[in-house]
């Protein structure tokens, strides 16, 4: 079922460069392969960006490639190949798209015909990740290894303390930092052995410093979106996630955000918003997007709704706020940064009865970005980021009612009451377009806009 792709209209100049950047990420892997430089199947947000960059290993971002396949509507044939190979359609479709592609490439002994942007090259190593969430990060490459038995796999564990009533994370954080540091050290040993590249520790320290600065720069850039009208919205952020997720620890990423920062400042100074008249400011409150239907943001814009903020892919923080101890070991620093990011909202949650760090983050953004409503997307194939979103909305509803509404009683007297921030749940997938209905999505958006409208009155 082909759905016409509507062009996106309101992108920042910086974001309009993204498609070219994605293409060069994929072609860089091809170039590395041709030149005999080591390549690695890699996952985003795994804490190893600086390590692979410092060792001149070219990452092949497997989630990126699946997203490209989805955006170009090329995923179905790879999903079908995976399903024919007994990978269930209910599994993570990033993974099944990638495995389907690998199956075809290994069977053919060459790139499948018409592979998007030249296809995904065969890696020299695969770098899995055992995290608090996302089972596919350690299962996907284990399955892929059965297609490529000669390609070694390493799984780095990177955990953080859960939010518990009786345990403050400060009591136990050292265990987590020590563990992740040792796991990263194991990764360096693995890479040295399997790629014959020696770690350049000075280079690693430089890249760790660059990453720290980049995190703060991205944070400051995204903070500019608080302006009314907002100079950039989530439609763009789903593109600017490319340097955040796939180019961290590179000067190119830093330069990109320097440019974006300047552009947003300029837009703010000239009061240039994403749309001429902002009626509703929304938050993308969770869920990975449908990469084949990013044009839905256009539909929101047509209704006067913009997204100044999102939780998805905002995987950076202001380094000063993270308050990381000074340590000399760059691997330990990486571990502290990674872990403290996930603990950022713990203290706020402790102060509000019935709350939770994820909910506190929503509240912070609602207040900072003057949010009128929340939109979440439930992608059916991903149990990593999506379970818990409904519950977060439910908790938010119970503990936070910031919207003043005037009601008229039977006695004719008006009174003010406070209601929760309204929310919309969209349902589809990240890659599998067969789960998507444009008509249903637009109907839901229409109904949500009507709710927002009634609250504004």
């Amino acid at each position: 079922m082909a759905v016409p792709i509507a062009p996106r209209k309101k992108a920042t100049n910086a974001a309009s460069k993204i498609p070219g950047m994605v293409k060069s990420l994929i072609s860089e892997a091809h170039r590395a392969k041709q030149e005999g430089r080591p390549t690695a199947y890699s996952f985003i947000c795994s804490g190893y960006d600086e390590i692979i960059r410092a060792m001149d290993i070219t990452p092949i971002w497997v989630e990126n490639f699946a997203g490209v396949c989805a955006a170009k509507r090329e995923a179905p044939r790879f999903l079908e190949r995976a399903e024919a190979g007994n990978f269930s359609r209910s599994l993570c479709t990033y993974a099944t798209c990638g495995l389907g592609f690998d199956l075809l490439r290994e069977e053919l002994g060459q790139m499948p015909p018409s592979a998007p942007w030249g296809g995904q090259v065969r890696p020299d190593v695969m770098l899995g990740s055992g995290q608090m969430i996302c089972d596919p990060r350690y299962k996907w490459f284990q399955a892929a290894q059965q297609l490529m038995p000669d390609v070694p796999v390493y799984v780095t564990n990177a955990f953080y303390p859960p939010f518990e009533d009786d345990i403050d994370y400060r009591e136990i954080i050292d265990h987590y930092v020590r563990y992740m540091t040792e796991e990263l050290r194991g990764l360096v040993r693995f890479l040295e052995k399997n790629t014959r590249r020696k770690m350049d520790w000075d280079r690693l320290s430089e890249l760790v410093d660059l990453t720290d600065r980049t995190w703060t720069l991205i944070h400051n850039t995204y903070e500019l979106r608080k302006a009314v009208p907002t100079p950039m919205d989530t439609g763009d952020a789903m593109n600017t996630m490319v340097p955040v997720a796939f180019m961290m620890a590179t000067q190119q990423c830093y330069d990109f955000f320097t440019e974006l920062y300047a552009e947003l400042q300029d837009r703010i100074a000239n009061k240039i918003g994403v749309i001429p008249e902002e009626k509703y400011r929304l938050m993308w409150g969770g869920g990975l997007p449908s990469w084949f239907a990013l044009s839905d943001f256009n539909y929101f814009w047509s209704k006067g709704a913009v997204f100044p903020v999102e939780t998805t892919y905002r995987v950076i923080e202001d380094m000063a706020a993270l308050d990381i101890p000074r340590v000399s070991d760059p691997l330990e620093h990486i571990a502290w940064r990674y872990i403290k990011y996930f603990l950022r909202w713990h203290d706020a949650a402790r102060k509000r009865p019935g709350s939770h760090p994820d909910v506190e983050r929503l509240i912070l953004y609602i207040e900072d970005y003057k949010i009128d409503g929340i939109v979440i997307h439930e992608a059916f194939s991903c149990r990593s980021w999506h379970p818990g979103l409904l519950w977060q909305l439910s908790v938010l509803k119970k503990i936070y009612k910031p919207v003043p509404v005037l009601t008229l009683g039977r006695d004719g007297k008006s009174s003010q009451e406070y209601r929760e921030v309204p929310s919309l749940v969209l349902e589809s997938d990240i890659v599998d377009i067969s789960s998507y209905s444009e008509a249903d999505t637009h109907n839901r958006i229409d109904a949500f806009i009507a709710t927002l409208e009634s609250q504004k009155k």
Partner: protein, 387 residues
Amino acid sequence: MVKSGVTGEGLSIAEKYYREYGYRARELKKQGKKVIGYICAFVPLEMLSAAGVVPVRIKGNVREPITRADAEMETIVCPLIRSCFDLALKGKYEFLDGLVVPHSCDSVTRTYDIWKSNLKLPFCHFLNVPHSTSEPSLKFFRAMLELFRNSLEKFTGKEISDRDLVRAIKLHNRNRALMRQLYELRKSDPPLISGVEMTRVLVAAMSLPVDESNSLLESIIREVKARNKPTAKKSARIMVIGAQVDDTALMEIIEENDASVVIDDLCIGTKIYWPDVAVNDDPLGSLATRYLEDLMCPRTYRDKTGTNEEYVEERFGHIGRFIREYKVNGVVLYIYKYCDPYGFEVPDIKRYIEALNIPVLYLEDEYSLSSIGRLKTRVQAFLEIMG
């Protein structure tokens, strides 16, 4: 014998505990005992036993539609977990004083907060479990077990000494040995105990204090050994592989079709009853090794050492051994929808078993009887083809 008010032979007691799940926990609760629910196979029961609480594994009910859970728990979550949560919301686990949830898979981990905020139990603990078996992983897991011990001590007000732990480990090792003895009685042809009966025993054991479970198993072993006229010999000997299959429905379908379920690789069955815990002066270290290294669950990644064939053997060799020892001639690979850890293993497991010249029926299913008609048709066709 079992110290409850229930009378009768072991198998009938097991059936009662299966049908009225949590029966004994409710009785013990009335007597002042604390009852702690837990999810999945990664919670060290030895710790709960040493703390003097009654451990009850949370199970769902395939016969009850999910009507309350969906408001806060997404339908893409493992259907077993949704069913468990639905029952909890409906008050079926009203006897719990606490809940322990391990970091086993996404569906379990991501829903911990949902359980916690809805059940509002006096005690909740999330046990972090690494995904690998590396040396740092074992060290970290040991530290997490220490934290679990401290947390339980605070809740119960009782110190859990190493000596308490060793005592509990011995009791649980005894429990596992007894269960293995019962499995031995399935090796004969026909087996002395059916798959349906075995499922009832396994489920009953999930809800009992270890000493009571041991007494019950001793009684059941005596009873089964004494059977001089076992069920009729059937043409197929089936192994069932999957996660928490805690209802007899699937076994009934198989055994109604001229087949016997003789062995399993389920996380309420051989997965938890085969590996013992080493008895030594470092009980936490022994528990860490047993639950992380020895428990063969797809949620734990094992580094590849040696050739690919050796790696496959390391991951699935136990299945091959069961097939040989129990003279299995057909395997039902029964996987719940939305199960990523198992789902990604399916092609590898299937390939491994088929290489042994054993046919495999792969079924992906919801945790619900609504699909029973389709299941029957698939199983019947599979058994017919096996001849």
